[in-house]
Amino acid sequence: MAEAERLSLHVPEPEVRPGDTPDFSKVVIPKAGSVARPPVDVDPKEIRDLAYSIIRVLNRDGEAVGPWAGTLTDEELMEGLRHMMTLRAFDARMQTAQRQGKTSFYMQHMGEEAVSCAFRKALQDGDMNFPTYRQAGLLIAGGYPMVDMMNQIYSNEADPLKGRQLPIMYSSKDHGFFSISGNLGTQFIQAVGWAMASAIKQDTKIAAGWIGDGSTAESDFHAALVFASTYRAPVVLNIVNNQWAISTFQGIARGGSGTFAARGLGFGIPALRVDGNDYLAVHAVAKWAVERARRNLGPTLVEYVTYRVGAHSTSDDPSAYRPKTESDVWPLGDPVIRLKNHLIVKGLWSDDRHKQTEAEILDTVIAAQKEAEKHGTLHSGGKPSTRDMFEGVYETMPPHLRRQRQKAGV
């Protein structure tokens, strides 16, 4: 058999690696305002192209343009900026706290702040998110106290989760934030189940599932699409495509499909791609999808195109697998700067005001941190008790656990 007729394995590789010049010229970015906004009850068949485009609102000049613009008031926009700035400041402090040994582990959101902050504002109280570890913006924008987040990160005596769970794996039912699992993907189908329950009870609440680009390869992603499609569950299924899954570029999970949003097409689920670094676009698309769900029109799949600027986690060093300056050339820019510029263009904001706000926010974060540290950090100060370790496995402690607790002397 001639060599030419022999098979060979295709293994996708990113365009560039450390040492190469970063290059996103192959990433096609449609002009802001250029993608049509269909009615929410559109036949999914009519909008298959939205799975291959990118919905954008903010243009290069910082103006909000096109049919997806206009979902937010001036006050809401300023609040949005504040949320993103808060999340960024929070991240920076906690990243440092981890380096100082105050906790075991941290994961930041740098570059992705718009996604969760803007999405939260499209939800109503009572709706439920099933997040991954990179959507703390849902909590910040949802009014969850920062000090509680920190207590959880420090696993201290005031940790609402009693030291049982890893840092940043928050849970707050009251804030529509389902307990984060360390296992990728699992929550996606659970979001669909929650939404089905709401529909079974003829309630009005909807759910949102969250998953990373890399994690779409997990089985739970498929189960979620199958169930959401079959039972038309009132759920928004969010894929945060930040280009990386630890060291693995998105091409490994995406394969030959072009986009992650396209995964929805085979299920008849409307699939939209959106500029994840554009607070206004994220909000507009989220609002559209939430309205579809709320009006019992079924699920929507949304892919947020963004970029993970920081390391995967405090255990990771991305310079080993991608050019150090890659984030600088990311064509969708920085979500905070873009919203800031928009507010300046609108005459609502200024550089000075921005700096001042930054300082105010830092004060608030530091104050929260001081408050939290009064209750201890991972290796010093107040701790959850050994008893807490034995509680909560079941509602009522069964005899064998009681025996073990006794044996442990607590």
Partner: protein, 337 residues
């Protein structure tokens, strides 16, 4: 009292629970219109409507994952996995999610789900319709694991499981669905209609989780069994003419250790029986516990009789199945020790 097969008892448990609590929902493969391949849910969709009883896609992961989401909303899903042999695609959702949700969220979210599944062999089902995977669940903190052996218990335990605030794995020995089976596959089987435990009230009652039942009082040796093996134990003891005390564990996790140790301290001997593969089966935990808690009362090593460490074979089903002969040999072994 009305007479029921185990299938009818299980159906009645769901029926009673759905009538009492709007939050109970039932779904799984073929459970809706058709009523399940073993007919355990027959008639329920007609009675409670298709948004409370419905067919699911063939995705055990999806069934359990969706149930977890529903439970965290406030429902009480009671889902069916068509055979216990097919539960593995849902294993991650059960182990990493259902079992840990209460703990990791400090009780903000809970997971009151029941996962029903036919278990065990004896129907020439080969390696994919015969497995007894209970030990793969008893190692998982946060789960409860139940195996009924008769209609009365099946109904009472299933209602208790549905009302339980935590996730319950409910294993239904399929060889018992229509009548008790003592392992003598070459003899005719009695139907539940002829058996005292084939009686159960029509309405609501519970059999508490975590409590074993002494099926036969005896003084010579304690036999620990559950599901189908309870009848095999009875047959073996009778045929060997040994005055065995037979304990039907009913719930494996949490285990009724008090009843077990009281019995073994009395008899000084113990035989543990299950259908699942021997190594790392639940019998290992039972033997470990018994020797730990009754060491000074034991006159012989605890002996385990179990399925061999092979996949469940088709043609050699009765060579694999730990029937009365093998159990009887074990009884003699401990009595002579």
């Amino acid at each position: 009292m009305p007479r029921m097969t185990m299938i009818e008892a299980i159906r009645s448990a769901m029926d009673v629970s759905m009538a009492r609590d709007d939050n109970v929902v039932v779904f799984g493969e073929d459970v809706g219109y058709f009523g399940g391949v073993f007919r355990c849910t027959a008639g329920l969709q007609q009675k409670y409507g298709k948004t409370r009883v419905f067919d699911a896609p063939i995705s055990e992961l999806g069934i359990v994952g969706a149930a977890i989401g529903m439970a965290s909303y406030g429902l009480r899903p009671c889902v069916e996995v068509q055979f216990a042999d097919y539960v593995y695609p849902a294993y991650d959702q059960i182990v990493s999610e259902a079992a840990r949700l209460r703990y990791r969220s400090n009780g903000q979210f809970t997971c009151p789900i029941v996962i029903r599944m036919p278990t065990g062999g004896g129907i020439f089902g080969g390696q994919t319709h015969s497995q007894s995977p209970e030990a793969l669940f008893t190692h998982v903190s946060g789960l409860k694991v139940v195996v009924p052996s008769n209609p009365y218990d099946a109904k009472g335990l299933l209602i208790a499981a549905i009302e339980d605030p935590d996730p319950v794995i409910f294993l239904e020995p399929k060889r018992l669905y229509n009548g008790p089976f003592d392992g003598h596959h070459d003899r005719p089987v009695t139907a539940w209609s002829k058996h005292p435990l084939g009686e159960a009230p029509d309405d609501h009652y519970t059999v508490p989780l975590g409590k074993a039942e002494i099926r036969r009082q005896g003084s010579a040796v304690t036999m620990l069994a559950y599901g189908t093996m309870v009848y095999v134990a009875e047959a073996a003891a009778e045929e060997a003419g040994i005055d065995a005390e037979i304990i039907d564990l009913r719930t494996l996790l949490p285990l009724d250790l008090d009843t077990i140790t009281a019995s073994v301290k009395k008899t000084g001997r113990c035989v543990v029986i299950h259908e699942a593969t021997l190594t790392s089966g639940f019998g290992a935990e039972l033997a470990a516990l018994v020797q730990e808690h009754c060491f000074y009362h034991l006159e012989a090593p605890v002996v385990r009789v179990a399925g061999w460490d092979t996949p469940y074979p088709h043609a050699q089903e009765w060579d694999y199945f730990p029937g009365p002969k093998r159990v009887g040999e074990a009884l003699l072994e401990v009595m002579e020790a």
